[in-house]
Amino acid sequence: MHYLLIFFCTLAPLGPIEVFDTPSDAGKCITIKWQPTAGEVDSYEVLRKGEGEEGFAVIGEVASGECSFLDNKVVDGKVYFYKVRAVKGGTILESEVSEAVRSSPQWFSLYRLNVLIGIILFSALVLYFIYHARRGKKLFIRRISGLDAVEEAVGRATEMGRAILYVPGLGSVSDIATIASLNILGEVAKKTAQYSSTLLVPNRDPIVYTVAYEVCKEAYTNVGRPDAFKGDNVFFITDQQFAYAAAVDGIMVREKPAANLFLGMFWAESLILAETGATTGAIQIAGTDAVHQLPFFITACDYTLIGEELYAASAYLSREPLLVGSLKGQDYGKIIILFLLLIGSGLLLLSALRPFKFFSILLGFFEVR
């Protein structure tokens, strides 16, 4: 009798349950929430009755400690009622029936509001500086150490009368690294056209190949030497990563270029290329935003443009006001990120103290879904 009493005391009745259409979703989902019972329970069962159906049926079970359930087996627009029951041993405790609820899909995801704000803010920054650059305002960019090396390499190859190998990475045209690389390729091609040295450009992506071809042709035309452009030297090899690496290795040991430029997107083949190139005695310059490959380029190449330096290099070489302006905008973006990191961390740490607890909502803003 005594035990029974304790048991009834611990298993207090379930409070009212809350049901609503799951927000910011594609529909077909209803959220059910309830208050935990005061005592220990084994689990909760969720029951549902659709409009026009007979009686409630169990649709799910959750462990004790959890107080919500997502019912994603509903029909949009249909009315449902829910009940929750707490189970402890053989004892069952049921809640009241919930109010009517129906699900529907939404047209805007509130969970992604932070992404939207971020995009608008940053786009505005970039466009603002591009606008200023276009109007002729001089913007400063510092020197990038790896860049002098590019000129030096081209010069050396010319003196030695040997070729220059330019690998525009293994990415596609939509990779930023590839786009930056194609910009740099244009500048390099201008130099090789002036000094009439050979420029070899092997490609892995057919589209990058066509663009690289056009870029080189254009560069040769621009310096007034369209006749010197050899179309055969810009070519496609294969779209398979390691077959491409095998073939470029072959080119490096056979043609013995005086300079190898690996600029763009790279994967595991980075070291295969760079290490083979190193044995031929070529001066090697790499640049990529593929974080995982940077350690290998740094070890095996003479100069490496790290991450964003690759983008900056393309801006620096071409001195295109648009590229320079955008770089300035990116720098301001970084300042905002650093500011958020410092202030955010400070306030969040403060929130460990009771009076500042409300600062912990900050973390919610960086929640992604």
């Binding site: 992404v115 913007l139 073939a247 940077l294 720098d331 970084k334 990120i337 460990a352």
Partner: protein, 209 residues
Amino acid sequence: MMPSPEILTWISAFLTLFIFSFLFGDNPIYRLAEHLYVGVSVGYSIAITWHNALYPDLIVPLFKQGNILYVIPLLLGVLYLSIFFPRLSWLIRLPMGFVLGYGSGVSIPAIMQASIIKQIQGTLLKPDIIHRADLLLWGTISLIGVFSTVIYFFFSRERKGAWRSLAGLGIIFLMVGFGASFGYTVMARVSLLLGRIQFLLRDWLGIIR
């Protein structure tokens, strides 16, 4: 010791050795393997592209199910071939514009979400670490590391004074990070080599179990 009776295993084994021969310098058998590999890989892609992309995604819906909408990708795709005709070659820009627009449009929110907002969230010092001295210290070091590395990548400012020291600290973090990643990757690459060696010694020659 029981070498494999399978002719196919022998072919694979020889190709494996052909590639390894490159380690000792360029030679005709490596060139053979290299040229074979390039040819086979392109041939392979042709077949895969037809069977896994063009046939099920284009031919079936367009011609078998009569979904007229699929004329659009067909047309855009065919325009890639305009490059073969110099006077029409500008048309290649249409499919490129489509694909690039798609790629850029998808990447803007994706990068903002995964590489910026989520990374900020991961770097922020959280209130629950305040009771753990070690976690607090590591978190703070991480924060300083991120901070100084980002400073290193500032381009529109001359590196002078305190700014210069911060960027220098960034280089320290970068180098330690690169060293650690290099060391970490050795293990994975040796495993790959072990896989090939096991193939040669076990599956082919049967020397080891």
